[in-house]
């Protein structure tokens, strides 16, 4: 009926009694980059985390509404959260490779899925690292600790790690906010490459980054979705005054 990968209907989220997301509805298309922007505390990261049920880890969270991924409501009682998260990967703000070798980091996902054959793992590791554009940098030190790499490299290792479980959607929570401009540029380039095969949703504080990388942009403010549209339109001719004010730096 439609080709939207993710459909959100009237999603509200509460931390205790505090309403953090108010009746959000949006549709996210497949194999595009969708950026969420907005000031700190506006709920964009919280919203991102509802898309692979990462908020389940936090106590005291109540969620109302529906999120459909491939037309399946992921807040249905019968949903297998573990398999959902295999399909919807996540990259965090602070790179978080395990204190293991680069190889073991990438192979972690396949291994927990029961792949133990060395040749298959080798292939997955190489493919994932190549996809994450870090193969050339680490191919000689696959068995060194991932923590010995630079911050930017660690973040790309994390991206490679999530690619290794073959997700369809990749959620990125400010993936470049702790990185220098060169590493940031590499991550952005990578996002551009990855969108050919994956649906990418990215939260960012950096509006230029949203403008550069995304196809669609959504502005959040105090738990409300203010406006969502094609990125060129948001940045050149937004429908709402609030959006215009925010992107021109007048508030937020």
């Amino acid at each position: 009926m439609d080709d939207y990968k993710v459909k959100v209907k009237d999603l509200s989220l509460r931390y205790g009694t505090n309403l953090a997301l108010k009746n959000i509805s949006m549709d996210i298309p497949e194999k595009k980059v969708t950026a969420f922007i907005g000031p700190s505390g506006c709920g964009k990261s919280t919203f991102l985390r509802t898309l692979n049920r990462m908020n389940d880890l936090i106590d005291n969270v109540t969620i109302e509404g529906e999120v459909y991924i491939d037309n399946i409501n992921i807040y249905d009682k019968n949903i297998d959260v573990v398999n959902l998260r295999k399909k919807v990967g996540m990259i965090f703000q602070k790179s978080n490779p395990f204190a293991k070798s680069v190889y073991d980091n990438i192979a972690f996902g396949p291994r927990i899925n029961g792949i133990s054959q060395k040749s298959v793992l080798d292939e997955i590791v190489e493919r994932s690292l190549k996809q994450a554009a870090i193969w050339d940098e680490v191919k000689d030190r696959l068995f060194h600790s991932a923590l010995s790499l630079s911050g930017g490299q660690q973040q790309r290792i994390c991206i490679a790690r999530s690619l290794a479980v073959n997700p369809e959607i990749i959620l990125m929570d400010e993936p470049a906010s702790a990185l220098d401009p060169i590493s940031t540029a590499k991550i952005e380039e990578l996002i551009h490459e990855l969108k050919k095969e994956y649906t990418i949703i990215i939260v960012t504080h950096n509006m230029q980054q949203a403008a550069r990388t995304s196809d669609l942009t959504a502005l959040f403010y105090l738990g409300d979705l203010i406006e969502m549209n094609r990125t060129e339109i948001i940045f050149s001719n937004p429908a709402k005054k609030q959006t215009e004010d925010y992107i021109s730096g007048r508030f937020g």
Binding site: L84, R85, K87, G89, M90, F92, N96, F98, G109, I112
Partner: protein
């Protein structure tokens, strides 16, 4: 309109300048005093440890010097006395002198130090033998049983509370297990002696009611809170980002616990087990009450055993002051001291060096 505050009045300015002048060192008495007092207390505690160390070793030392098993002649016997280290010191000296003099007129060629490696512990027979092997073996057996019992239980309990339990349940379980650490060991020993021994005998049907198995289980109970608490700390110290990363990759909670958190916490868990081991090793009261106290060489876990610490506990009160037996007990004390010291040192240094280098050095 905003008014720029005027200059500070001259008089105030002078006092301020005086207060803040840094061209001359100022003596601050209370700071000096506090520093010295703290320093003194710190050194005092170190000194106490070292002095105890020296005392125990000094009392053990004559065993290697003596050539005779008959140490102090009857007329030089000193009334046995316990505690009161200050008065003992002087007495010990005189006893040592008398031993030295008695050594000259020894007749037997049996060195007591050679009997240390024999297979019998019979310190009060006419022909006393001080073989430490049965005691070592007994300690080893009990420790092993206790550790095999306590370590898996406490580690699994820690994994459960750190990883799976709901906060409410966690808040009940954690303090309850930690409360067990405050149990006087004599109470655990009493429980083992009166209740556990009978129950376990009925279940397993072994011959001697009090044995290494019962003692080991009881000592395991004493070690569980230590191993549990430290393991739990090690597990919860693993950064939350690891957990998120693992769950985000589609790992289940079990997979996250066993493949991500547990490996990362291994050094901490190792330290916890070693400290628990130290506790078991030095545990006296439970050993005394629940192990049967028979010094024999046997590999059967259901035979009675006598541990090193229980030997001191049981015999120190009845030993002749300055006798070979007395020295041997101190030798056992020094061995216990060295072992526990080594265990704690390993736990401490291994933990500090490996854990911190591996997991905390990078950011």
């Amino acid at each position: 309109m905003y008014k720029v505050p005027g200059r500070i009045k001259n008089k105030n300015k002078e006092t301020l300048q005086q207060m803040a002048s840094f061209n001359k060192k100022k003596f601050r008495f209370s700071d000096w005093l506090a520093e010295k007092v703290i320093k003194a207390v710190a050194f005092l505690s170190i000194a106490v440890v070292i002095l105890i160390f020296i005392f125990v070793f000094r009392e053990a030392f004559p065993i290697f010097k003596m050539d005779s098993k008959s140490a102090a002649p009857t007329e030089t016997l000193v009334q046995e006395s316990y505690g009161g280290a200050e008065t003992e010191n002087s007495k010990v000296k005189t006893v040592d002198n008398k031993i030295a003099s008695s050594n000259k007129k020894q007749t037997s060629s049996d060195k007591p130090s050679t009997s240390l490696f024999s297979n019998t512990w019979m310190p009060v027979s006419d022909n006393p033998r001080y073989g430490l092997w049965p005691l070592f073996l007994g300690t080893l057996k009990v420790t092993l049983i206790a550790l095999l019992f306590a370590a898996p239980i406490s580690i699994l309990a820690a994994i459960y509370t750190a990883m799976f339990a709901k906060p409410r349940i966690r808040e009940i379980i954690k303090p309850v297990i930690e409360l067990l650490a405050g149990f006087p060991s004599v109470v655990i020993g009493f429980f083992a002696l009166m209740v556990m021994a009978t129950v376990l005998q009925n279940i397993f049907g072994y011959a001697s009611r009090l044995n290494a198995f019962v003692g080991g289980i009881a000592m395991g109970l004493a070690a569980i809170p230590i191993i549990y608490t430290l393991t739990e700390d090690a597990l919860t110290a693993i950064p939350k980002t690891f957990i998120e990363a693992s769950l985000g990759l589609g790992a289940s909670r079990r997979q996250t616990a066993f493949y991500v958190i547990l490996p990362a916490a291994v050094p901490g868990i190792f330290a916890a087990v070693v400290l628990g081991l130290g506790r078991i090793f030095g545990e006296t009261m439970i050993a005394l009450m629940a192990t049967g106290n028979a010094a024999m060489i046997s590999m059967n876990p259901f035979d009675s055993v006598r541990t090193l610490s229980a030997t001191i506990g049981a015999e120190m009160a009845e030993v002749v002051f300055g006798d070979t037996h007395y020295n041997v007990l101190f030798l056992i004390g020094s061995l216990l001291f060295i072992f526990t010291f080594a265990l704690n040192a390993v736990a401490e240094f291994y933990f500090k060096n490996v854990v911190i280098r591996k997991y905390q050095s990078k950011k």
